[in-house]
Amino acid sequence: MSIVQQIEAIYANRGGRARELRRAGEKIIGYFCCFVPDEIITALGMVPFRIQGSQSEPIDEADALLEPMACPFARSCFNMALKGQYEFLDGFVAPHSCDTIERMYHIWRSNTPSPFNHFINVPHMLGPSSSEFYKNELRYFVTCLEEFSGRKLETEKLRESIRLYNRRGALLRELYELRKQDPPRVSGTEITQVLVAGMGVPAAEHIDLVQAFIEEVKNRPAPAPDGLPRIFLWGNEIDDVAFIQLVEACGAHVVMDDLCTGTRFFWEAVPETDDPLDGLVQKYLGTHCPRSLTPQVGARAEDLENRFSYIRRFAADWKAQGAIFYIVRYCDTCELEGPDLKEYLLKHKLPVLMIEDDYSTATIGQLRTRIQAFLEMIA
């Protein structure tokens, strides 16, 4: 199997590797979003698994237990759990990423409990006291996981684990560098497959995959110039390639992103600190997510600059010519952030298409005309 085929296979069968590992005696700890440190789980000898939904399966069973105005990503994950598709999880960990996830934690826990269930409170505010609080939440998480696993967390192990994830992050950034070429040698669709595949396998295995994939991409012949527009994507959970495929099929290259399933979870490395937990706190609370509130700085223009300049740099460095926002419907923090970011990017002459969608491949085709019109406009 070529490396691309291997990645596609893991992407298509996301729980496959975890099930295998579990049969071999490993413990699998499932979690949501970008605020649960993989490093801790790995350092305790368990396998972290980032829970995903399925955009192609209808949400049927969850309806009886979880209201339809909850984020459909969360609903889809829970739907899969109800249908027994997450039976391989030894642990279920939810961070307080948003109202929906917080509420769902309790519903999930009482309907399909795992042997280990844990909730991590993540501050919405940022600052020294928030960091201290989150560190204490991580300490408590460690205590509970230790109890569950019967192992003690060794600082050296945690450092090793941090280095492992940092190495993966560095590789992914290297891969993203290859998107800078025009036209890029690697598509947005492939990138999503690589990232999502990695969420269900141990980091060491993911590193091997990414490394091999980078080699493969580097050896591809340079594509001929095609003049297609380069797109930056902003939004939340895109764990299915359908939307990116659609954008690319409409005649564009998706070259850079700020998504929970993209740069957000790996871009910043964990700094090496005396107490490794401090490094984890810095990285995880630094996650660029609308659910975290950047304290106000100066007047409006300065504040927007402080909140979003990293996005402007992403777009500039990857030479994006337009930005598409893909917001999973019912995500209040994204819905409130979108118009601000749009205003900011428009001021910096980057055209924006803001899309709100239902996290379902069944309805994605309806977006085609809007995307086409946008691409024509920026061409």
């Binding site: 237990l65 909850a70 269930n117 609080f133 106000q296 952030e337």
Partner: protein
């Protein structure tokens, strides 16, 4: 819009004192306008953030933007604000309180003045905005977005609560320490805005008044166990104005004292709200349908009275340890104790604090049925209702129903559907009655 504006929204109240709330509401906005004229500081704020007493102690005049949204709905004057926010790019599924607030701010900016005929004179430009993460995400994110229309200093605090399964002995310290730091951060921000140091004695005074009002309110609710019920839920939705928007003032204490006396008299003299109280209903949760409060009277026409409710509650008195000598420590402890009030019970039985609270109410208030209200755009108070309903069903056998609309956005509400649902619910109550 004219047609909707004329429609009746309010409910007939059960107590006289509840009828005195209307001036209190008006006064919120009027005093904000006056304060602006007198150079006092006015702040947009979020109800139930546990910081009210700090504002009072620092002479900040509170402008509760969520309440304003509810007020617009009660006046059936919400569409122009909702539509404006949507035209500005806010999603139709975003919290409708936030949409009304943003739409109002946007219109005020565009016009350079308060939009004509705004309910109760509209909200003046605040000097600052104070958000919080208590209850939901929009409550800190909304003010950040509002800076698009009004450039004023904005500050938000976290309000944290541990999950029921957490070992409180292990997490108590860091939760309280963080809560304290968040309040302290707010105080420092306000000191900068007002150029004045906070006076701890004044804070203690506000806390004393706050606790006193909530204690009285709690005592009133305990009187409501009486059969027939001396005060219905629709009154609660009005009288909560004193406890939530006048926290830390003598006004709230006086108001509840008066209400207490009235409810006590009614309870003692068995003066009920309706002539024949056939069923006692628990309002199980969800924000009230501000646009259609008369629906409570509709229930009453079947002899079904809402005896107690689980919304705008949660501040029932708690015992802060006596060794706490600092008012900011006190606030942090109090917030923690409020948030964990039902944790122990939850751990012992259902695992769910809300379920425990509801079971307590069902037993104490001799409840015959439970009604929830799901609001399409409020995730925080809606998600989990279905689950709680099904969990409750494991411990009690009562007819339950969930009505669906929104707290203010009426665009997909159907009166006919509600009435049909209520009819079926009444049949279930009657059937249960017959089999008793």
């Amino acid at each position: 819009m004219d047609a909707t504006r004329q429609a009746k929204t309010t409910a007939v109240k059960g107590t006289h004192t509840a009828r005195e709330v209307r001036p209190l509401v008006k006064n919120i906005y009027q005093s904000a306008h006056e304060a602006k004229q007198n150079g006092r500081k006015v702040a947009y704020m979020m109800v139930a953030s546990h910081y009210d007493e700090i504002l009072r102690a620092m002479d900040i005049v509170p402008l509760p933007t969520e309440n304003y949204a509810g007020l617009c709905a009660a006046k059936r004057d919400m569409d122009r604000f909702l539509l404006k926010a949507e035209a500005d790019g806010y999603s139709q599924v975003l919290c409708s309180y936030a949409r009304i607030g943003l739409g109002f701010d946007s219109l005020r900016k565009e016009l350079g003045r308060i939009p004509d005929n705004s309910p109760d004179g509209g909200m003046p430009l605040p000097d600052m905005m104070l958000g919080s993460s208590a209850v939901c995400d929009p409550r800190f994110k909304w003010y950040q977005a509002a800076s698009r229309y009004l450039e004023v200093p904005t500050f938000s605090i976290d309000v944290v609560a541990p999950p029921p399964q957490a070992d409180l002995n292990q997490v108590r310290d860091h939760y309280i320490r963080y809560q304290r730091a968040q309040f302290q951060g707010l105080i420092e921000f306000l000191e900068k805005q007002t150029h004045q140091k906070m006076d701890k004695e004044r804070l203690w005074e506000a806390i004393r008044l706050g606790d006193q009002a909530w204690r009285l309110w709690h005592d009133i609710d305990r009187l409501r166990v009486a059969v027939p019920s001396p005060m219905p839920s629709q009154d609660h939705f009005s009288i909560m104005v004193a406890g939530h928007y006048y926290t830390g003032t003598q006004t709230a204490v006086d108001f509840y004292q008066k209400l207490y006396d009235e409810v006590k008299y009614k309870a003692e003299h068995k003066i009920g709200v309706i002539a024949e109280e056939k069923y006692r209903i628990l309002y199980g949760g969800g924000l009230p349908p501000w646009h259609t409060l008369w629906i409570f009277n509709y229930f009453e026409s079947f002899g079904a009275l809402f005896a107690i409710e689980n919304v705008y509650r949660g501040f029932d008195p708690v015992e802060v340890p006596a060794h706490i000598q600092d008012p900011v420590d006190y606030l942090a402890w109090r917030a923690f104790l409020r948030a964990t009030r039902y944790h122990e019970k939850a751990r012992a039985r259902s695992g769910n604090p809300t379920v425990e609270k509801l079971l307590g109410l069902i037993a104490d208030y001799a409840i015959d049925g439970v009604v929830f209200h799901a609001c399409r755009s409020c995730r925080a108070t809606t998600i989990g209702q279905t689950h709680i309903k099904s969990e409750l069903g494991k411990y009690c056998d009562l007819p339950m129903m969930q009505l669906v609309s929104d707290m203010v956005d009426l665009r997909d509400y159907s009166e006919a559907q509600w009435k049909a649902q209520i009819g079926a619910f009444m049949e279930a109550l009657a059937a249960r009655d017959g089999s008793k």
